[in-house]
Point group: C2
Chain length 257, copies 2
DNA sequence: GGAATAGTGTCTATTAGACAATATATA
DNA sequence: TATATATTGTCTAATAGACACTATTCC
């Protein structure tokens, strides 16, 4: 049952605050990076955190996540039920975190979402003025606070390291059996660019020849556009768009078995 | 950011009720079944719904799900971090549902959990006195309300059909790449019993010979206990326990590619 | 030409799936 | 005996992974 009594009785249930937090991933300079914002107030003042905010009173969870995403990055969310007018990014619910002690101020349940975005030509178009940046997930997840890059060494605020870790693991496994790796690519891309996405997300090196044969042979994964490009140097490469398939069959296989 | 201001300001965020709903699945008589409870009050009075209830003020989400599970079924949850003293059932978070209109009375965010349980010798040991029963998921998800079994024909309350559908899909896909199918089995089971679990969850027939070769050849999946049984008739079968592996490599392959 | 990337072809070990054959219980 | 289930073995087609080789650009 959902409630014991039909008339709305506010004393019948404890009140919660509900937020959305975002794990926004992209691939930059051959590394998997996440969006982090710097906290301006306590608790965890000055520490880095995942972007996020309160769900509004009449707002769906996914709508709240999409709104926060646009506010922080200027990206438009691309959910299964909606096309993207500007620059698409994949958005899906990740998991919900509700430890009673996760926020020292009050009881906050956070519905984390995962966003996969292409490397932005102009990062954070419409973002707030507060400090935000892309950082390699390895840096953000490091335990020790050896000051390597200085400001980025301290661990993430709240339970955000755990949330980020869960998001990274979700992304690593979803590009195995779905075509979501293309969400990290611009609308048109080469097989080599797609391979570098897999290599960055999985953190492994892949054989370019076998990779090419595999992705071009998987039905519905890639659609050739007819064009070619030479942005990587070397022989010009064919350009592709993401095909209609969402689930890959057979899946891409992650090495190290 | 999580909140705009450090001092706790209740007016700064809208209040939500947070519940857990349970998709409890088992395999009975060669069919995948879910636990449903009958609602005693409006809205949806008299309709079937998923078991669930409010998260308490100082309770973790998973603890709330485990508590509701024990209240409704007598089952003890078996989470990664805890052994089960009585009868184990696998519990994991499924997804969170927060459509502003999903409950007509107030704003309720429900964190759904998935439970995989063996067929119970005595169903619902410590359950409440209110009406509860196992029903085939096909029956619960039927759209039309042709009165076949009478009481079970009406659609589920709230958005519970969608939640149940998501839970069934999660279970179907998780037994592909994890050893979770053993969560539907008693502590000791035969290869044939495990095969009937796969057949019931996937709704397909599997070749007993290839299945046997596959599961016994997957490292860490099954551990022979040395005993045999003849509960299915025919030649006695070896008894196995679940092995230590949680992820299957290579995975079980679902037919119909 | 040399270096870099793109793309095709070939070989081998592994495996999924079809299915024959054998083993051991109950009726 | 017939029948049911369990278990092993065999064959074949498909595929992942290793890697030789060719193609086409820029320097």
């Amino acid at each position: 049952m959902i409630t014991p009594m039909p008339p709305y009785d506010p004393s019948a249930f404890p009140p919660f605050a509900v937020t959305v937090d975002l794990v926004v991933l992209t691939v930059r300079r051959h590394a998997l990076c996440a969006l982090a914002v710097r906290r301006g107030e306590p608790p965890f003042q000055g520490r880095w955190a995942l972007p996020g905010g309160f769900v509004r009173a009449d707002e769906d969870l996914e709508a709240a996540a999409a709104r926060e995403l646009t506010e922080e990055t200027g990206l438009q969310a691309q959910t299964p039920a909606g096309a993207s007018p500007i620059y698409g990014a994949h958005l899906e619910q990740l998991a919900t975190y509700g430890d009673p002690k996760r926020d020292p101020r009050m009881r906050v349940v956070s519905v984390a979402h995962l966003v996969l975005a292409p490397d932005l030509p102009a990062p954070r178009a419409g973002g707030d003025a507060h400090s935000a940046r892309w950082a390699p997930v390895e840096t953000l997840l490091e335990q020790d606070d050896t000051t390597r890059e200085g400001e980025l060494a301290a661990p993430l605020a709240f339970d955000h390291a755990r949330i980020l870790g869960d998001g990274v693991e979700r992304a690593r496994s979803k590009i195995e059996y779905s075509s979501l790796a293309t969400a990290f690519c611009p609308p048109e891309f080469t097989v080599g660019e797609l391979r570098r996405v897999y290599e960055a997300v999985w953190g492994v090196a892949l054989d370019p020849r076998n990779f090419h044969r595999k992705v071009t042979g998987t039905p519905g994964f890639l659609v050739p556009t007819g064009g070619t490009t030479t942005r990587q140097g070397g022989r010009p490469a064919q350009l592709f768009r993401a095909g209609g398939a969402t689930l890959l069959n057979p899946p891409m296989l992650r090495p190290e078995v």
